[in-house]
Symmetry: C2
Subunit: 428 residues, 2 copies
Amino acid sequence: MASVYHSMSDADLDQELAQLEAEAEALRARNLALDMARGKPSREQTDLSKPMLDLLTGETDLTDGGIPADNYFAPDGLPSARALAAEIIGVDAAHVIVNGSSSLNLMHDLVAHAYALGVCGHDPWCTQGQVKFLCPAPGYDRHFTVTAHYGIENIPVAMTPDGPDMDEVARLVETDPQVKGIWCVPKYSNPQGCTYSDETVRRFAALKPAAPDFRIFWDNAYAVHDLYDTGDELLNIFDALAEAGAADLVYEFASTAKVTFPGSGMAWVAASDADIADIRSHFAAMRVCPEKISQFAHVAFLRDAAGVRAHMRKHAAVIRPRFELVERKFAEGLADLGIATWTHPRGGYFVLFNGPHGSAKAIVALAKELGVTLTGAGATWPYGNDPCDSDIRIAPTFPTLEELAEALDVFIVAVKLVCARMERAARS
Amino acid sequence: MASVYHSMSDADLDQELAQLEAEAEALRARNLALDMARGKPSREQTDLSKPMLDLLTGETDLTDGGIPADNYFAPDGLPSARALAAEIIGVDAAHVIVNGSSSLNLMHDLVAHAYALGVCGHDPWCTQGQVKFLCPAPGYDRHFTVTAHYGIENIPVAMTPDGPDMDEVARLVETDPQVKGIWCVPKYSNPQGCTYSDETVRRFAALKPAAPDFRIFWDNAYAVHDLYDTGDELLNIFDALAEAGAADLVYEFASTAKVTFPGSGMAWVAASDADIADIRSHFAAMRVCPEKISQFAHVAFLRDAAGVRAHMRKHAAVIRPRFELVERKFAEGLADLGIATWTHPRGGYFVLFNGPHGSAKAIVALAKELGVTLTGAGATWPYGNDPCDSDIRIAPTFPTLEELAEALDVFIVAVKLVCARMERAARS
């Protein structure tokens, strides 16, 4: 669809520009301070989990499967916590280690372990020359930061509505032994909100990596984060691996960061027998045991996968109106203009907005000027480098509905003004 | 003092041996299963902190210094938690990062950071050939495991009642740029229970390392773990550094592992401005923020350093009788025999037992046979190698007083029998 500004006469375009500049000026005068930058749950959402704090008292018997949660022991996590974690992602508890409150931390620790010490006895990545990670892009900036932190080369791979471009992934993984891993958010991907198709998951499971120490970092961050009763279905990667007769290929991660308390949830990793043994022996050198009182409280509160689903319906009731507001505002404000597209996720934490090439940095900067903080343009690409400068991640959960409505109105003015300015500049 | 067995006639020795073998046989028949192996608080001790679980409810306002403890934010830890941590070890809160539940994990992370990425922009240790760590020995096995895990060479350094042999430390640190760090437990050292003298602390602060990326890993694990109202006084290492005009030399660690809940306490690191900035930027790649609800609960429970001291007096009331029982049993059972010495700590978690050269492995094995598990002989030395095979770490806190009394009786029989057998073997 052609841009409405492109079809305007010079006079009409100038009039439109004047009108938009005036709108922007009026917004600037309001000194707004709104934030659509990060995927943080709102206060309404964190309040949903506060009843957890009533469940443990000084009288509570903290024994779990014979293990006192309030002392050392249980390096793999409490038995009940491992069972809950395993049920949520559909694996065997024996293949799960529950550790800490941050799945990103677990991902970091496994990258660091591979880099410094090596995966399952293979040479450390740091001794293998320049190693590489595939980064389906746009993607999650903090993933890319972890590998970049270790000097690992982040290689962008195109995303499609079905997940990463698997022809490209297979070509790179199966021919280049320097390719050691890939970052994936397979369900309600950050920032698109798309879910990998069964075919994509099967192609991941069927990969024959050139490097024996290649691993898929399968960050199932939004495993249970549906906005609607019927959510997207993600094929279980470990089932697909079994089907393909493969093993030792996937580290799966998840957490309750956006189920209970961000930063104070429980986080876990699942992997094959051999990989879990390797991870366990690394973790044994790192610390005596994980924090377990929080694990105990989480199990008391969430109980099982059904309990988690019931709890997530409460989250959905809070954030579904926010996502629907984004859709409505964008549809009303932008649909007829031919200048932008956006995704329509049925879960997760983000909407991906796609403006014209060369517009994203300008839109983010103008929105900032008008009082709305967005995720930095380019942040969703390795090294912050969006080659088309067109992707903007919209994070609608943290503001209130009212704030979000205002922020979206500002954003839409910014988009339109930047696009009209670009058209004007192209004509002069 | 000469061994009583050495002064016996052959006939007396044989009679004594027969008597001891009979005692051992009687113990073996009892099929005991007692554990004096690890420095775990007892149930009575962890119960002291369970009232903490009453302090947070679903109604609690979790805001701390304007920061919601139940959401992301506060990568350095909650303001109140940093203030508490700083007060406990006598530093400025701006120099403290509170993160996670395990100070060992923080130590690991800083070794790993230095190894893979380098300290403050210096070359990573992994690119500098064989690097080395000094290990005052006997010491804490898990320290030595961290550096050994990264292939760093652990070099034992002699311990004295005033701390490590500082002539040896200074010689190694100041002449060998491959020496990158030293493990210290400066107060109530593990396993001796001794506290570094002011002179030792000042000599640490005055070190002029050959390597610019040398750091002292100052694990102040037992900072507040006095058995008596008048505890050992440890000179503040950061005060000593200021006195010496030095900086960027010390990472200090502490935690509430043995104040509140082992494995589920709060842990922190303190360091100079430049070092904290370096640590902060590493941690920023590792995770969004630390677990903070536990930090909030700890501050609500412990409040301040005075609150910690009051709480630690309750711990002392529980474990002081255990330490005094060790002293009494050893004095009654071994003092006159000239075969062993032991330390007399006024705090911490351990007593160091010193038998004749070549006896420790045999004593630990025999005690095990008789139903008492001890810390493995040699475990307190790098690579498990006690050159004299004479050190045994006694951990009296976990068993009940009754169990401990039984375990010590068994241990004493094992010591005497091994020593008598050694004397007999020496004569034949």
